[in-house]
């Protein structure tokens, strides 16, 4: 996508202090709180995250524990979401799957952030030739299906889950780079940056200590919108058998199992499918809410 988001449309106001600090101005926070869907989404996400994070302690079974006597059983007390063909409790696997998704969300987004923010800040700050070259690279890569290359990576170089996280993160940094570059470009023209340069601060310092904190608004919005993309990619890969491997559990894997046995055991599909959809839904709403809260020209009314 071309730069549909520029600093103008995002209207991120510069902070009055030069120090790094508050990420959302009080105004934006207030606006966010008023957005009921965003707040509800945030609450749901917190609940889900906690449940997943605490899975080892609160799950009724272990994720690989097979009870061959109770294979492919529909939901009932004791196995609230049923069991799969190997007798594994679905609720447990759902919670553990949530852990994977959570980890992917954090680590992969972190990777994307790290690469994207640095790349974008450097490109925007140095401008001219450096910027042109760097952005051209982004443009070219953007059009290619990075997903396919991730698949390639996973096919060739094994099934280490850590590689998975890094690879997924490496797909998503492009948009972040563009956003940050745009922000940095507009910030560059503002007086407090000139002041910093006049004071003789070194460029690295200016970029990291002054510009990036001021660009935090859109960065946060995009990080929040990157998480669902990242989770989706993990589920996608797991669905194709290229991501998380059994006996570990992932929502993508569960959906694959469910799809395979749809006729006899529809519950195997519905629970993970709905959970994944709901999580993505909440994340997107939260991201939208954040964006509206930070955008001076909120287009809702």
């Amino acid at each position: 996508m071309q730069e549909t988001l520029t600093p103008q449309t995002l209207g991120a106001a510069p902070l009055s202090e030069v120090e790094a600090g508050t990420s959302l101005s009080r105004d934006a926070w207030h606006r966010l709180k008023k957005n009921k869907m965003a707040v509800a989404s945030a609450v749901i996400l917190v609940v889900l995250s906690l449940a997943s994070a605490l899975a080892p302690w609160i799950a009724p079974y272990s994720y690989e524990e097979q009870n061959l006597a109770l294979r492919a059983v529909p939901p009932r007390p004791g196995h609230w979401l049923g069991t799969d063909a190997l007798g594994r409790d679905q609720l447990t696997r759902l919670l553990y799957g949530g852990r994977v998704s959570l980890m992917v969300g954090i680590v992969a987004t972190g990777v994307a952030l790290l690469i994207g923010v640095t790349y974008g800040a450097v490109s925007g700050f140095f401008g001219r030739k450096t910027d042109v070259v760097m952005m051209r690279i982004v443009d070219i890569i953007y059009a290619l299906p990075f997903t396919i290359f991730v698949i390639l990576l996973m096919v060739f170089f094994g099934r280490d889950i850590r590689l998975l996280f890094v690879a997924i993160g490496a797909v998503e940094w492009l948009t972040m780079a563009r956003i940050v570059r745009g922000q940095v470009q507009s910030l560059k023209k503002q007086e407090f940056i000139e002041a910093a340069r006049a004071l003789g601060l070194r460029r690295r310092r200016i970029i990291f200590l002054h510009m990036i904190p001021n660009a935090l608004g859109p960065i946060i919005v995009y990080a929040t919108l990157t998480v669902p993309a990242v989770m989706l990619l993990e589920a996608f890969l797991s669905f194709l058998g290229l991501g998380v491997q059994p006996p570990m559990s992932s929502w993508g894997l569960m959906i694959k199992d469910g799809a395979d046995r749809m006729e006899e055991c529809p519950w195997l599909l519905i629970a993970p499918g709905m959970t994944l959809a709901a999580t993505l839904f909440c994340l997107n709403f939260l991201g939208d809410g954040l964006r509206d809260a930070l955008d001076v020209r909120a287009s809702k009314d």
Partner: protein, 341 residues
């Protein structure tokens, strides 16, 4: 490299006759083949060649490093395939020679023998499966554009009413429910439940419905939101007010003034959308048992059929680059401001 757009000193301006349509078509044609366009296409071309080059080189090395391939100690491949691979890769020649041979093969369009199927080459496999995927992709894209554009544009014209909120909420759901969840659900409801269509397959015309819908729906949803957003942004601009002050009807304002700018986000999105349709086809074809290239690719990936995987990736890469070029041309045509970069 700023060229004046009025460089196409099209004398039909003073020709005195000409129907509106003929002039428009002729004008478009002359614009398309104008100097700016040539330079643009050439520039893009030269940019992407190195990318392809890098990809090809990377794939060359990937095969060598792959566990279970012909280059490693663990030779788990049937002898006749091993022979073909040796011939293709020239395993006994020095590395540089192998590289040149490999590149030469690629330029000829020869992607090598399959790792798994002794009697098939990668080329043959791709050509047998691609037409199916192409058909699926076209249907999905058509659904995405028709459904997405119409609902998005209408929603923008009736902002904040039911005609706006309902489709946009549906669109949100469409974006959040992944393809590989939507597909099985649709099969559950319409195939197994209601029995209106087969659960899978690609034989009858009816078999095309669910896969195309599943693949296209996500993009329809995304396009709907983009179209609405783009149109709203344009409709709030001052020049729409000017058009109204001239006495233009609503239809005229939408079609002549708003559409060109309003649909820019959608056109920009088409690039990644095409890439997404390709990756989406992996899932959809797997779920619905469609004998397309996507399903072949997934099977090949799962089975570690390295040449097949690489060949398909290269094929897709070229395809995407070409299609993106087309999309970019359309973008430049729609947005005159881009021509003077």
């Amino acid at each position: 490299m700023a060229l004046k757009g009025s460089g196409t000193n099209f004398s039909a301006v003073n020709s005195g006759h000409g129907l509106l349509d003929a002039r428009f078509a002729l004008g478009t044609y002359s614009r398309l083949i104008s100097l700016t366009m040539f330079r643009f296409i050439a520039k893009r071309f030269f940019e992407t060649i190195p990318v392809l080059f890098v990809i090809a080189t990377l794939t060359f090395f990937m095969v060598r490093l792959a566990p279970g391939g012909p280059f490693t100690a663990e030779k788990s491949i049937p002898p006749e395939i091993q022979k073909k691979l040796e011939a293709f890769y020239g395993l006994n020649k020095p590395l540089s020679q192998q590289y040149l041979d490999y590149m030469g093969n690629l330029l000829k369009g020869d992607l090598g023998p399959s790792f798994k199927y002794a009697t098939w080459s990668v080329n043959e496999l791709i050509w047998s499966a691609f037409p199916v995927s192409l058909e699926l992709g076209c249907y999905a894209l058509a659904i995405a554009l028709l459904l997405g554009l119409s609902s998005g544009i209408i929603a923008s014209l009736r902002q904040n009413t039911a005609t706006d909120h309902v489709p946009m909420s549906l669109a949100m759901i469409g974006i959040c429910v992944p393809t590989f969840v939507m597909g099985p659900l649709l099969i559950l409801v319409f195939g197994l439940g209601l029995g209106w269509v087969n659960a899978s397959g690609w034989d009858s015309a009816r078999d095309r419905i669910l896969p195309s819908l599943t693949l296209g729906f996500y993009y329809a949803a995304y396009i709907a939101r983009l179209a609405r957003g783009g149109m709203l942004e344009i409709l709030n601009q001052d020049f729409i007010r000017t058009a109204r002050a001239k006495g233009a009807s609503s239809a005229r304002i939408v079609f002549r003034h708003a559409l060109k700018g309003g649909l820019l986000p959608v056109v920009s999105f088409l690039g990644p959308a095409i890439a997404g349709l390709i990756t989406g086809s992996f899932v959809v074809e797997t779920i619905f048992q469609v004998p397309g290239l996507g399903r072949f690719f997934v099977t090949a990936a799962f089975n570690r059929d390295y040449t097949m995987v690489l060949g398909t990736v290269l094929f897709y890469a070229v395809l995407i680059i070409l299609l993106n070029l087309v999309v970019d041309i359309v973008q430049v045509w729609l947005n005159p401001k881009l021509r003077f970069d």
